[in-house]
Amino acid sequence: MADGQGILVIGELAGSELALVTREALSAARSLSGALGGEPVSLVIAGADLGDAPQQGISAGADTVYTVVSPVLEGTPPDAVVAVAERAAQVASPRYVIGSKTLLGRDVLPRVAFRLGTALAQDCATLEVDSQQRLVATRPVYGGSAIAKVACLQTPAVAALRPKSVEPLEPDASRIGEIKTLDIQLDDSVVKARVVDRTERPSEGIRLEDAKVVVSGGRGLGGPEGFEPLKDLASLIGGAVGASRAVCDAGWLPSSYQVGLTGKTVTPDLYIAVGISGASQHMAGCSSARAIVAINKDAGANIFKEARFGVVGDWQKVLPAFIDQLHELLQ
């Protein structure tokens, strides 16, 4: 597959809609296509039911959509999606393959890259084409303490785009594209890791990932009781509660609350961090917030380096007065 052409996006579904992350990946692919003099963008989507997603893929930037519908794809087991993506790469023979660094993408994309005999540029914040038409990506490394720029040396280059780093294109229903069924036989034997039980605990109230305001607490809160005023604050200003890994590791809150490199990425307008030191791995999940506000008793805490407003003090004294004053202002 030495001389690839075009860009293949490995798509994902959100229910029976095209996932937002895939619209972002298509948008990135269109920019790359532009830099390559208009090479075609294709998309592969696979599931037990695709709904209107193939058409949405075209509106979002794809020229060709390869579809696979099979009961084997119920719950999108990574083993089956890897097989689909590998097949799509054989058929489309692309120069670049772009996916998203999501729960599914993390399991699928490295395997696809290894099957294609190349390596994956992981967790890319930006993607561009260099003068030799190599795919070049910037990505955080060392928990976000440094930013690396990596060039992909082999074809096809495979990259995992970090969610929310590219704006999706405005859907354009007048775009023209082709929908094709991907030629692949899938049967149950492809799925080696079988899901036998799943417990989803959807968050109460606003989802962390979607919240416009996030109030997060860290080890400095001293225990699960410390989160009571944080919950009050969140409901007062219409936000969601988040936490540092230290809090989840200690069992004060379930891991679904964790913000950061290995937790959730949040992009609120306002991120209030209470008793959080601001380790790079935590900031990796919240540094795209429009404004960070920190309450921490240590003036040297790293969180203040990225905060717009800060109070150096004991949260037990700062927070109640802060909440009372907000109450008054918001009456």
Binding site: A119, A121, K192, D269
Partner: protein, 267 residues
């Protein structure tokens, strides 16, 4: 047949190194190991070792071999898994194994070393190494060795040749079953790894690690083509300059903060 488990473990710069001690050489494209902070076993790998030892607790004839590859090792650091209770430590040490964001070299060398170890039932890895945060080596290794794989485990149990894995999902968890041989990556949700006991430390002191070169595992470095090239390395730009809100006391500062956020139309 007793179970044979291989746990991969990487020596990394301590991720708790304070930001002020984190240095890079932007010309040489290298992260400089902080002089005052010793390296550690990657945290998720310690949890993978813990997962293996829990399986061994239930089936004491299980063999747990810890495998690491790298250019140089701090022996006291790398011996910690032995002190925790692992049976063997195998180190593939070679100047050519420089740390790089390209996972393919590590995949090839680890795969060759695991093949040399013989029949392995279960490979446990950390979910990612806290240096390049790649989360790729295990998946590549599974492809290379033809093993079934699942990731981000918070519990791993083995019974009758089947691994039962509880995985962490963003909003819940799921249970996955895989017929051995298999590869599983482990996350911090598994819980704090056990501390070495005094007896463990003494026993580890008597065990010598097996040290192989790349040639010993039957590989020729020049035949490994890199997939990625590092072309830039920089420190992130620091964010906004913080405006500190002060008051007569902490409570007053809290009140003023509320007023400030209102003024800035943030609430």
């Amino acid at each position: 047949m007793p179970l044979r488990i291989v746990v991969t473990a990487k020596q990394v710069i301590d991720p708790e190194t304070p930001a002020s001690a984190f240095r890079i050489d932007p010309q040489a494209l290298q992260v400089l190991p902080p002089a005052s902070v010793p390296p550690v076993v990657n945290g998720f790998d310690e949890q993978a070792i813990e997962a293996a030892l829990q399986i061994k607790d239930a089936a004491p004839d299980t063999n747990v071999t810890v495998l690491s590859i790298g250019a140089s090792f701090a022996m006291d650091v790398m011996k910690k898994p032995l002190a925790m209770g692992a049976d063997e430590l195998v180190l593939v040490q070679d100047d050519a194994l420089v740390n790089s964001p390209d996972p393919s070299v590590a995949v090839h060398v680890l795969a060759a070393a695991i093949r040399k170890l013989g029949d392995v039932d279960l490979v446990l890895c950390g979910r990612q190494a806290s240096d390049w945060d790649n989360a790729q080596v295990p998946l590549g290794l599974a492809e290379k060795l033809g093993l079934a794989v699942t990731t981000i485990a918070k519990r791993v149990a083995v019974e009758n040749g089947i691994a039962r894995i509880e995985r962490v999902l963003p909003d819940g968890s799921e249970t996955v079953e895989i017929t051995l041989p298999a590869l599983v990556t482990v996350s911090n949700e598994l819980g704090q790894a056990r501390y070495p006991t005094l007896r463990g430390i003494m026993a580890a002191g008597r065990k010598a690690p097996t040290i192989w070169s790349v040639a010993d595992v039957g590989l020729d470095m020049s035949s490994l083509t890199p997939g990625l090239e590092l072309v830039g390395l920089a420190l992130p730009e620091s964010g906004a300059a913080c405006e500190f809100i002060e008051g007569e006391d902490d409570a007053d500062a809290g009140r003023k903060l509320a007023l400030k956020l209102r003024e800035a139309k943030l609430v």
